[in-house]
């Protein structure tokens, strides 16, 4: 059986030790494993065809997502499923799906015009994120109109969330199927590249983590939580994270991929029930 891993050039550019171990385990079990970094190739996208039995989408780059879309349109078997990944990558779609699934998330707005946030920033601090961002790039935290005015006009829509004060550290939760792991680490511009400190998973967090997977049809994923005074709140969700700081995770990931490839596990982006109507537009015409 041929497995094709769509991977990303890492920062720093060394192969992921977790993935290398996963490859070795799967190869020992008789899988043919191929890994490719789209950014290092020049591809004929009009000739790209499904040539592997399973594509494992590890990369989060736009190029990899587009190529995954080409393969999906031709019926490729993919882990995580393509539509689950695109729904996760787009924070506008993701924030709605999380809320619709009853998962605690901050109040969220969407706009391409930051001046519309003035009345909101008067009442609560906000965190502004690119709607297709990753690894914390392009994030601004603003507490007043002056700080809001200093944010450069976005080139594409941004997601704005109520900035929830936490402990000063992110709680990063990693999931493999129904197994949940957690690490803590301080948030910074390069914290995505650093391992966290393993920590206990509370029953609340365990339940929230598994509900995120059900809501998006994901089997290998990570979530970022802020531990607010009112309980844990999900502030980000990613498919196939790096699992940095989780010990002995490679055999579990390899088992999961093995089971998925052979059809013992299946994943699908579930349909959402229609939400009752409530006005979604903030007073844009009454500025």
């Amino acid at each position: 059986m041929k497995l094709h891993f769509m991977v990303v050039r890492r920062v720093p550019p060394v192969p992921s030790p977790v993935l290398l171990e996963v490859f070795a385990i799967l190869q020992k079990r008789g899988f043919e494993v191929q890994a490719e970094i789209a950014e290092e190739s020049l591809l004929r996208s009009d000739a790209l065809a499904v040539r592997s039995d399973l594509y494992v989408l590890k990369s989060h780059t736009e190029l990899s997502l587009s190529l995954a879309g080409v393969l999906h349109a031709q019926g490729a078997f993919m882990l995580n499923p393509y539509l689950s990944c695109t729904g996760t990558q787009d924070k506008i779609v993701a924030s709605h799906r999380l809320r619709a699934a009853g998962i605690p998330v901050p109040a969220t707005w969407v706009t391409a015009d930051l001046s519309l946030l003035r009345p909101i920033v008067d009442t609560t601090p906000l965190i502004i994120k690119p709607h297709r961002g990753h690894r914390g790039a392009g994030i601004y935290i603003v507490s007043n109109r002056r700080e809001l005015a200093a944010v450069p006009p976005p080139a594409s829509p941004v997601v704005i969330q109520e900035h929830i004060p936490g402990t000063g550290e992110d709680l990063k939760v990693y999931v493999v199927g129904d197994q949940v792991f957690a690490v803590r680490k301080p948030f910074s511009a390069d914290s995505f590249a650093r391992p966290g400190r393993p920590c206990r998973v509370s029953s609340d967090v365990h339940q929230i983590a598994l509900r995120c997977g059900e809501a998006f049809g994901l089997g290998l994923y990570g979530i970022d939580l802020v531990e607010s005074p009112d309980g844990p709140v999900v502030v980000d969700l990613n498919y196939f994270p790096g699992y940095k700081g989780v010990s002995n995770v490679a055999p579990l990931i390899a088992d999961y991929i093995h089971d998925y490839a052979e059809g013992r596990i299946s994943l699908e982006l579930p349909s959402l029930a229609a939400a009752p109507y409530e006005p979604a537009f903030e007073n844009t015409l009454a500025r």
Partner: protein
């Protein structure tokens, strides 16, 4: 009842991403130029010895940001710094571009100068839709299962190439476009109401 979206969301998602859309068209037998994708524009340099490229932002529509490059020095003029580079072999058009519109079952076409600079340019000049042109447009629609779209087609060396597809365009130059559009939206609503679950999932091209 779940809400319907016209065109369906997944269809619009595929259509908006030129990397996906081009492959879907090509698989459906629609003639498209040779297409390359890369993370950096410099990767195209070695291929320029065998022909130029039209380089486009991979998520834009309406011909925005199209740059024609013929030699390696031209690559410096490509201003995109983020996102994949989408490049198609450039074929010098024999004449004006053709913009073909599809509403429901009807096909319309106009000839236009490219790039259009005035509203008159955008309206173009109506052309008669030959059976071959109609077949080409229907093939594009069938590939995406779309009821509302347009395609940009060029003819180069007497060979047609579809170089862009957009869901729900402006239908400039289509006679009675508002009436036709309202009629299609009306009939889609009726179908949605009678079906109860009106979210068709696009068929995967064979």
């Amino acid at each position: 009842m779940r809400p319907a979206i016209l065109n369906p969301y997944v269809v619009a998602l595929r259509c908006r991403d030129k990397i996906i859309a081009t492959r879907v068209l090509q698989r459906a037998g629609v003639p498209v130029p040779q297409t390359f994708v890369a993370a950096e524009v410099g990767r195209l340099a070695p291929l320029l010895s065998s022909g130029g490229f039209g380089i486009k932002p991979y998520r834009e529509t309406g011909g925005h940001g199209v740059v024609v490059v013929r030699k390696p020095e031209d690559l410096a003029g490509v201003g995109y710094t983020e996102g994949p580079v989408f490049a198609q072999r450039y074929h010098e058009p024999d004449g004006r571009d053709r913009k073909m519109y599809f509403i429901g079952d009807d096909v319309f076409g106009v000839k236009r100068v490219w790039p259009p600079k005035t509203y008159g340019d955008k309206l173009g000049e109506p052309i008669s839709v030959t059976p071959a042109l109609r077949e080409l447009v229907l093939r594009c629609g069938h590939a995406f299962e779309m009821d509302l779209f347009d395609v940009d087609e060029i003819v180069s060396g007497c060979r047609p190439y579809v170089v862009d597809i957009s869901s729900f365009p402006g239908f400039k130059g289509v006679p009675d476009a508002p009436v036709r559009l309202a009629g299609l939206i009306h009939s889609t609503c009726i179908k949605a109401l009678s079906a109860g679950s009106p979210m068709p999932s696009p068929r995967v091209p064979a």
